[in-house]
């Protein structure tokens, strides 16, 4: 009983510190994990071995492998090349520019980390808009909103997907058959809505359309040789993801081997490449796993599952939709990773008690993914475009996001809920 109270307290205080941004999330989770482990060892309910076993290395391996590939692609100028190319193809037409930049960002965020994609494409977006003499806000917001939306479609698109896939045993193809169709609809709805919400900005004829045609995307491509090799390896990795079940290998193995192949092929300065990896994210994940493992070992999750057991008699479709909206509302304000990591053992517990939790996993994926669009702090991509926009004359404010981003979140969650209800049997 004391163990349950203590571990719950550590977990809740850590969550509060993270959500209130009183303390950096990685530092908080390291402290929480160490404390939980210490108490567990002292009281004899949680051993070092159990703590190590609680870390989901499949998730970490997949993230690390993909991060290394992006880190290799980053300095080649490939992302700048794409964004400039999108600018030229649009010929300075605002709506075309919005669609082109939104599409490029989405396609890359399907397979790569949203944040890196946005960090690399947003500055070029600002440049193109400033050259055209138009307000960059609609384009920056579209990049964040569309890439967050698109990221829900694939297993590797967003960290919560990786977590759920690992916990529920979903394959890459499961995401293509369950998540991708809904995301496609939601993505087009989001785009149409952005067009409507920004109709006034998009109707303005840019004063300097011809200047965009003088951008030379090829000159931004610093190292085509490396970019081509990494892209070939990335393409092969994505192809292998499709065959994952048939080959009997995990996506983590695919991603890490792809990283290894790309490293051997291009032989970059490895210290420099590894410096581009966001290690704080990986440490944060590992420490959160150790904390949730501690909750599990102390018996907190059993208590929670018993409390939730009455949900069994709840209409399952309604339960799924409630989870979509509940998780979405939470992830509109806080990072969706801790929410997902905390909910995974709860769902697992419900599954162990005999409930069919397959559809609930998908509800978690949709809620965590689409919810981030709701506020300026809802996802890291949002925070990134907002902070980059502070270097322009029209910074993105929280108020503006509530007017333009929140409707997108509500629309995508509604689309997901409707399609989820209609095609519920697919998710069972």
């Amino acid at each position: 009983m004391i163990a349950i109270v203590l571990t719950s307290l550590i977990f809740l205080i850590s969550l509060w510190l993270i959500f209130s941004e009183k303390l950096n999330r990685t530092i908080t989770s390291m402290g929480g994990a160490a404390l939980m482990c210490g108490i567990g060892i002292g009281m004899g309910f949680y051993s070092e071995e159990q703590a190590i076993a609680a870390i989901d290395f499949t998730t970490l391996g997949l993230l690390l492998g993909m991060m290394i590939l992006v880190a290799m692609l980053e300095p080649t100028g490939f992302f700048q090349f794409l964004a400039l190319g999108a600018g030229r193809i649009s010929r300075g037409n605002p709506l075309k520019l919005l669609i082109m930049l939104g599409t490029v960002t989405t396609i890359f965020s399907l397979f790569l980390d949203n944040v890196t994609t946005v960090i690399l494409i947003a500055p070029v977006t600002i440049l193109i808009c400033e050259i055209l003499g138009i307000n960059p806000v609609p384009y920056l917001m579209a990049e964040a909103l569309l890439s967050d939306t698109g990221g829900v479609a694939t297993l590797v698109g967003d960290p919560p997907n990786v977590l759920v896939a690992s916990a529920a045993g979903f394959s890459f193809n499961d995401f293509l058959t369950h998540s991708l169709p809904i995301v496609l609809v939601a993505w087009f709805v989001a785009l149409a809505l952005l067009r409507l919400l920004f109709r006034r900005e998009l109707a303005i004829q840019p004063p300097n359309m011809e200047a965009v045609m003088k951008l030379e995307p090829r000159e931004a491509l610093e190292d085509w040789k490396t970019a081509r090799r990494v892209l070939i390896v990335l393409g092969l990795a994505i192809f292998t993801f499709f065959l994952e079940e048939w080959l009997g290998i995990s996506p983590a193995y695919v991603a890490l081997s792809a990283a290894a192949v790309a490293l051997v092929w291009t032989r970059p300065n490895i210290q420099e490449t590894l410096r581009h990896i966001d290690w704080s994210v990986l440490v944060f994940f590992a420490a959160l796993f150790v904390m949730v493992g501690g909750l599990d070992a102390a018996g907190v999750l059993d208590v929670l599952v018993n409390a939730l057991r009455s949900l069994e008699h709840f209409p399952p479709v309604l339960l799924g939709i409630i989870i979509i909206w509940l998780v979405a509302s939470l992830s509109a304000f806080v990072d969706n990773v801790p929410i997902t990591i905390a909910l995974i053992p709860v769902l697992k517990g419900l599954g162990a008690s005999g409930m069919n939790i397959q559809p609930l996993w998908w509800a978690l994926v949709f809620g965590a993914g689409f919810g981030g669009n709701g506020t300026i702090i809802g996802s890291t991509a949002n925070i990134v475009v907002a902070s980059l926009s502070e270097r322009t004359r029209t910074p993105i404010t929280s108020k503006l996001w509530n007017k333009r981003g929140l409707p997108v979140m509500l629309a995508t969650c509604t689309v997901a809920s409707i399609l989820y209800a209609i095609f519920y049997s697919v998710f069972e």
Binding site: I126, L127, E130, I131
Partner: protein
């Protein structure tokens, strides 16, 4: 040779109470690259470089891009100018700490500072901290190179 033998004694400076606009006109009228800032006693309190003041001409977002080689026409950015309000800010907002030499220092002291910190001009101060001159890379370089003509001739 000492610094005071190769420095320019006619040094332009600006009081710490001046505005950015006033500094800009001193830069432009006198064709200089570094403007020392002095307090009312004539003591050097910092410097403003051409680079710092020119940053106002560049939009903030330029810092986000590692390079801009691929832009051949800056379009609307070409015509953006600093806003009037910015030019009326006090010059000390752009000031950075000065790297200085004293007038009695040797040339090597100045040369090493210029090379290590990649500076083009060094304000020269007297022993009591008053601004007495300025020495540029060219002033210093030509003074040093002028001594080379004697190398190898001394023994003969």
């Amino acid at each position: 040779m000492l610094i005071r033998d190769c420095m320019k004694q006619n040094v332009f400076s600006i009081p710490d109470t001046a505005t950015i606009r006033e500094a800009a006109s001193i830069f432009a009228e006198n064709h200089i690259g570094l403007l020392p800032v002095v307090n009312e006693d004539g003591h050097l309190i910092g410097v403003v470089g051409l680079r710092e003041i020119l940053k106002l001409e560049l939009p903030d977002f330029f810092d986000l891009l590692p390079e801009l080689d691929f832009v051949h026409d800056f379009g609307a950015v070409e015509t953006t100018r600093p806003i009037a309000e910015q030019l009326d800010h006090p010059i000390i907002t752009l000031m950075r700490p000065a790297t200085t030499v004293t007038e009695t220092d040797g040339l090597l002291k100045a040369l090493s500072l210029m090379l290590k910190h990649q500076l083009n001009d060094l304000p020269v101060i007297s022993n009591n901290g008053r601004l007495v001159g300025i020495v540029s890379r060219v002033d210093l370089g030509t003074a040093i190179l002028a001594t080379w003509k004697n190398i190898g001739n001394e023994i003969a």
